[in-house]
């Protein structure tokens, strides 16, 4: 392989030619999930990032959601760790409550003027304790809770906010209005209130900008749609999201604002503000409402199993991965009705404040029904400030107010060096917002590759002290957490108690252990008193463990000598009314923690070198785009294609809905790939073996009859998908029946029988949305519309019928659906179980035709169509080779045979196995622009690894005591990461853990009959010591001490 490496000189030259820019900083505007992801990836790539948001905290709309579809993961639980990650990253500067005023310059050297609005709080001093909030007398509607409840003029945006500091709403503050009150000043112990704070202007220079301003929910109040704003029990879906949420206005109880009673009969109205061509509505489909409504229905039934849920909908657009099953899950719940009908609001009943809805069904005609609550499934609008965004950043907009993007690169705006991610591209969901964020990062990386790492800073720590020969010297710090703990738990008495525990040499209290001051005090005490173990009794390790581990490193001892005793969530917050027992429990928790900490061992985090070459498997649009992006960021790529030619399934596509010429695009892409000296292409390639782990993979490839070994640091899986070969509707028996891809080919060839056909019938959902393939192929509705419009363009007189189950032209594709209908394409809906029938026959005028019969549900009768051509929207199916790839790289496929990403929402192009990424239709069917976004996204994620010289593996992983191992393999049977293998040793076969692959869940530990395998940092001894100290009066005295000695 070596001879294929390009020589160093050429390499350097190329690196230089990549750009002539000077600044390696990037600004991300908008700190919702998309902006957060963009910042984290950019920082990991080695760029310095300014993350700017006009809101007082980062998080965006995702922070307001209760759960996320289709897995019903808790939204805050999965998003808030990313807040912490951002706030702790040395290369991310978070600037909240800040607006962009002016942007000057050009790509590579933008000068950005920012206006920091006054919070009237000194961010450095505020600890987020919330005491000022308690004392503030001015009540204001709580914006985070959709104004459904009240907050104070000074408050924290939401409890997990980053930065966790308060801000004062100027318009509502008694002082800032008429100098009537300064209570907060007196209440604040850290003197953080500054009622005379002024706006502050900041100027920064950046090389590129990522715009991620998100969306604005459609506001039904403007037109009082469906009584919203007039009738109390009509709420929007975002209001409802807050009602469902445990941190919502009624602490997770769904209550009506009119009488604070639980609604029992709830209706959802779909497409509010979407799919409307009237003034004030949006013509497009918002793409997320069907799924989030199903989620809300499922959650409502969780809250109240007897609730009656009715959903009034148009098409159900369950087009995403696992959405179809999610829809079925909601639909099959008892007491849930999905009714396909347009609706209008009847009236509000004065006594009960119930609301009536009028709707009609084909069976029963028009009906009026009463509901306790009505939820409006509102769509996504462009951000409110879209015009300002356009003028400030100099970008063009679409007529709908979204950012105008390059259809061949949805992250590219009309301005060089300004990229866009998230819902400002158009209505998209969370995973797509995350993908496009990583994709925008890849583009920043391409623009600024030569500068990567120049301005980024790394933290430096004092040298780690070896304490292995010392007895445990434990320091205990008990945190008041402002009043959070201190008000309930008697902190001084816990400190006194802790001081008397075995091995404790220092105990003290802290007002906020996590504040910069207190944390410094801890690291100083470690040095002064020679502490070699630290226990902080405070809050949860989920958010604060990284900070305190860092504090230990600052103090010069191993970070694994830290243990956290949670006396807030596990104690003061849940026992606020039982102070005595709360204090006793806090002592119990501290005692357990102290016992455990005495046994803690220093652990080493591995630094593994990273091979800076990439392997991309699959040479379709996804694989080629990814390869070129990686190459453009300065990395060498091996691109494998199983066929003789690059291009994948796109070789059979010719045009897209928005007019892209696929073949010329493809030709150009292939040319770029072959011309790029960083990209090595192997066609007719098959993989025979793959091994290794992140940073160090070795893959054996057979190409053109030669087998070679490729060493690479990351892999991108882009193996594509295939078109289903139908067995239905006379396909393969009658050449007038063809798939959509075949039709497209015929149209492009100008085949007479297609172009001149009098009548063309398209049948949707062939080979999927059925028992065998319980998923929607996502693209077929739009593909049929695309081909129907093309035929109409060539032959306006052709009669075209589309037989569909739900038209799923989601997002901006809706406009083309409307266009097709306007141009006379007829849409006839059929239902599963009553599929159309196709048989040869003769038309009235004696032509040989295909007779297509179906039941038209709108007309309520059977229709018979004469077709010259019948086209089938055949499913997209995963290729059979996926199972091989799955085995080689130890990456999973889902039940449908598509590759399964690490996390549906937040890690959409990662695999759970580190260093392996995924893009294109190998993941799930998708349109070309979506594939391109994912391909850039995968490249962006991959560079977060490739740009580093080493990767760090956690110290808390499993290890085998080989003398005890009996090589039974029990541990191997449960390790789905494949981290354990049996190896030959002088003592025979023994299990051995690869610490780089081990994720430290410890499932193997209890499976081992010989207790030979153990998870470091959670060893049996450490855990037993906690158990023994939990009920000390009953435990054998001295047990823990004895074990401590053993260690």
């Amino acid at each position: 392989m070596e001879k294929e490496l390009i020589d160093k000189e050429q390499f350097e030259q190329l690196r230089k030619s990549l750009g002539e820019t000077n600044t390696a900083d990037v600004m991300v505007v908008g700190a919702g999930i998309s902006g957060i992801q963009a910042s984290l990836d950019l920082a990991a790539m080695g760029f310095k990032v300014y993350l700017v948001d006009k809101a007082p905290a980062i998080g965006g709309h995702m922070a307001q959601l209760d759960k996320t579809f289709p897995t019903n993961d808790c939204s805050m639980c999965i998003e808030s760790p990313k807040f912490i990650e951002c706030s702790r990253h040395p290369n991310i500067e978070i600037m909240t409550y800040t607006e962009v005023e002016r942007v000057e310059g050009e790509a590579g050297e933008y000068k950005v003027s920012l206006l920091k609005k006054p919070r009237y709080i000194d961010e450095e001093k505020c600890t987020g304790c919330g005491v000022c909030v308690e004392y503030c007398p001015a009540l204001v509607p709580d914006e985070y809770n959709q104004d459904l409840c009240l907050s104070k003029a000074v408050h924290i945006y939401f409890s997990q906010a980053v930065p966790l500091v308060t801000y004062i709403e100027r318009d509502k503050c008694h002082f800032l209005q008429d100098e009537r009150c300064t209570i907060c000043e007196g209440a604040c112990k850290t003197k953080a209130i500054n009622l005379f704070q002024k706006p502050e202007r900041v100027e920064v220079e950046v090389g590129a900008i990522v715009l991620a301003p998100g969306f604005e929910p459609f506001d039904p109040e403007l037109r009082n749609d469906y009584g919203y704003g007039i009738m109390e029990n009509v709420v929007t879906s975002l209001d409802y999201e807050r009602l469902l949420c445990a941190t919502g206005p009624y602490e997770g109880e769904i209550l009506r604002s009119s009488d604070k009673k639980h609604p029992h009969k709830i209706a959802w109205i779909q497409c509010v503000g979407s799919r409307q061509v009237i003034e004030g509505g949006n013509s497009y489909c918002s793409g997320v409402c069907c799924a989030y409504t199903q989620k809300q229905v499922i959650l409502t039934k969780d809250h109240d199993a007897d609730a009656e849920c009715t959903i009034f909908h148009n098409d159900i657009r369950a087009f995403g991965k696992d959405f179809e099953r999610f829809y079925q899950r909601a639909e099959n719940l008892p007491g849930v009705r999905f009714i396909r009908s347009y609706v209008s609001i009847g009236k509000e009943i004065p006594e009960s404040k119930n609301v009536t809805i009028r709707y009609s069904t084909t069976d029963d005609g028009v009906k009026e029904e009463e509901f306790d609550m009505v939820v409006l499934s509102v769509g996504l609008n462009p951000p409110t400030e879209f015009e300002a965004l356009s003028s400030t950043f100099g970008i063009e907009l679409t007529e709908k107010g979204f950012c105008k993007t390059n259809p061949m690169n949805p992250m590219e705006t009309s301005k060089k060096g300004v990229f866009v991610s998230g819902a400002f591209q158009g209505p998209i969901d969370i995973p797509e917002s995350v993908v496009t964020a990583s994709a925008a990062d890849a583009l920043c990386g391409q623009l600024l590759a030569h500068q990567r790492g120049n301005l980024a800073t790394a933290r430096e720590y004092p040298e780690e002290k070896d304490v292995s020969g010392e007895d445990p010297k434990i320091g205990v710090f008990v945190c008041h957490c402002g009043a959070n703990i201190g008000r309930v738990v008697d902190v001084p008495s816990v400190v006194e108690y802790a001081a008397g525990l075995p091995n404790v040499v220092h105990a003290q209290e802290a007002l906020f252990a996590c504040s910069t001051d207190n944390a410094r005090q801890i690291s100083d005490t470690i040095k002064e008193k020679g502490l070699n173990r630290v226990v902080v009794a405070a809050c949860t390790p989920r958010t604060h463990e990284p900070l305190f581990r860092d504090t230990l490193r600052e103090g010069g001892i191993n970070q694994y000598f830290y243990d956290m005793a949670n006396i807030r969530e596990h104690c003061s917050w849940v026992h606020s009314k039982e102070k005595d027992v709360a204090t006793k429990k806090a002592k119990d928790i501290v005692r357990m923690s102290v016992a455990r900490s005495a046994l803690l061992q220093p652990l080493e985090e591995f630094q593994l070198p990273v091979d800076k070459r990439a392997l991309v498997v699959g040479g379709g649009i996804a694989g080629m785009t990814s390869a070129l992006s990686l190459a453009g960021q300065g990395f060498e790529v091996f691109l494998l294609e199983k066929e003789a030619e690059l291009g994948g399934i796109a070789r059979r596509l010719h045009y897209t809905l928005d007019g892209m010429d696929v073949q010329s695009y493809l030709k150009d892409l292939v040319k770029k790939v072959y011309q790029n000296p960083y990209v090595h292409v192997a066609t007719n390639a098959t993989i025979s073996e793959a091994s290794g782990y992140v940073g160090n993979f070795v893959t054996k490839v057979k190409a053109e009859n030669a087998v070679r070994e490729i060493h690479h640091g990351i892999a991108v899986i882009a193996t594509g998908a295939e078109e289903y070969k139908p067995t239905e509707y006379l396909y393969g028996q009658d050449d007038r029946v063809m798939t959509q891809l075949e039709l497209e080919e015929q149209i492009v060839k100008g085949a007479e029988k297609v172009i001149n056909a009098d009548s063309l019938v398209m049948i949707q959902c062939v080979g999927c949305r059925n028992k065998e393939r319980n998923y929607c192929s996502r693209i077929c509705c739009s593909e049929s519309i695309k081909n129907a419009l093309k035929v109409k363009e060539k032959n306006p007189n052709a009669d075209i019928f589309i037989l569909f189950r739900d038209m799923r032209t989601y997002g901006l594709r809706e406009d083309y659906y409307r266009e097709a209908a306007d141009k006379g394409v007829k849409f006839i809906r059929y239902e599963q179980g009553a599929e159309p029938e196709v048989a040869p026959g003769k038309s009235e005028d004696g032509r040989d035709v295909l007779k297509v019969t179906a039941i038209d549900y709108v007309l309520g009768k059977k229709v018979e169509l004469d077709a010259d051509i019948v086209t089938l929207a055949a499913a997209v199916i995963p290729p059979a080779e996926n199972s091989d790839i799955s085995k080689f790289f130890k990456v999973p496929v889902n039940p449908d045979g598509f590759f399964q990403e690490a996390h549906v929402k937040l890690r959409p192009v990662d695999f759970a196995a580190d260093g392996i990424f995924l893009c294109g239709i190998a993941h799930y069917p998708k349109h070309i622009p979506e594939t391109i976004s994912q391909a850039y996204g995968a490249a962006g994620r991959a560079v977060t690894i490739l740009s580093r010289d080493t990767v760090t593996a956690s110290g808390a992983v499993c290890e085998v005591r080989e003398d005890d191992c009996v090589a039974c393999g029990a541990c191997i049977t449960v390790c789905k990461y494949g981290a354990i293998e049996l190896v030959d040793t002088p003592k025979g076969k023994k299990a051995r853990v690869n610490p780089v692959i081990c994720k430290g869940d410890g499932l193997c530990n209890p499976k081992c009959p010989a207790s030979a395998i153990y998870l470091k940092h959670f060893t049996d001894d450490e855990l037993f010591s906690q158990i023994d100290q939990a009920v000390p009066s009953l435990a054998k005295a001295g047990k823990t001490a004895a074990q401590g000695a053993k260690n």
């Binding site: 897995t71 789905k976 430290g1000 499932l1003 998870l1015 023994d1028 939990a1030 009953l1034």
Partner: protein, 223 residues
């Protein structure tokens, strides 16, 4: 106590807690299908808890003292409700041992017996009791099935009972009836288990006195 996965909870921890005199043990973790790793250890936890409950029942401890509940990170309110319920149930059951009519010595020795057999139980779990991770229903169906009753009896319960008998005989010879009475095992069962142990040479039958004894103990008695 924090563990990284419910599947990491060793039955030994449960036994240790009861040895220490805890009246109840609660295990909480991610809902099935919502594994934060890829290993789905929560299904293994379900199996472990169900098996441990059977063992507790076998040695005379109320299995309701051990409880597993699924909780998402967002379900604070549910967590509080569950914990209140756990506390109420354990209070209702009463103090460990006393409520079951077991004196402290007997309780300790029984738990000790189980603890010593854990390596064997782990082997059995892997070889015979492993359910393909799929759904809670499958786990429950299997762990509550007649097949499981049979497997548990043959592979685990017999071992535990035999060990309990051996432990009893360590203190001195006993007759079948005494064993039955002291351990609460039916005489027929005692005869069957002792029969096996006698054949294996682990226990001797003193024909004259009609008592059973351990070979080693006999020597001691003579000396």
């Amino acid at each position: 106590m924090r563990v990284m996965c419910t599947g990491r909870v060793d039955p030994a921890y449960v036994i240790r807690a009861f040895e220490n005199g805890a009246d109840g043990v609660y295990v909480g973790g991610c809902w099935p299908g919502e594994c934060h790793y890829v290993t789905e250890g929560n299904y293994h936890a379900l199996g472990m808890i169900k098996l441990t409950k059977r063992i507790l029942k076998l040695i005379g401890i109320n299995p309701e003292r051990l409880r597993l509940e699924w909780l998402g990170a967002s379900e604070g309110i549910r967590f509080a409700e569950v914990m209140n319920d756990v506390a109420a149930k354990v209070r209702e059951i009463g103090p460990l041992g006393k409520s079951e009519g077991l004196d402290e010595g007997l309780l300790k020795s029984r738990l000790e017996t189980v603890k010593n057999l854990l390596p064997w139980i782990k082997l059995v779990e892997r070889e015979r009791l492993r359910v393909a991770v799929g759904s809670v229903e499958e786990y429950e169906k299997f762990y509550d099935s007649e097949e499981m009753d049979k497997l548990f009896r043959e592979l685990i319960a017999d071992k535990i009972d035999t060990s309990l008998i051996m432990a009893l005989l360590k203190d001195g010879p006993c007759s079948n009836a005494e064993i039955s009475q002291k351990l609460g095992i039916e005489t027929g069962e005692v005869a069957r288990l002792v029969g096996i142990s006698v054949r294996q040479g682990l226990v001797k039958l003193d024909e004259k006195q009609k008592v059973l004894l351990l070979p080693g103990v006999k020597e001691q008695a003579r000396a």
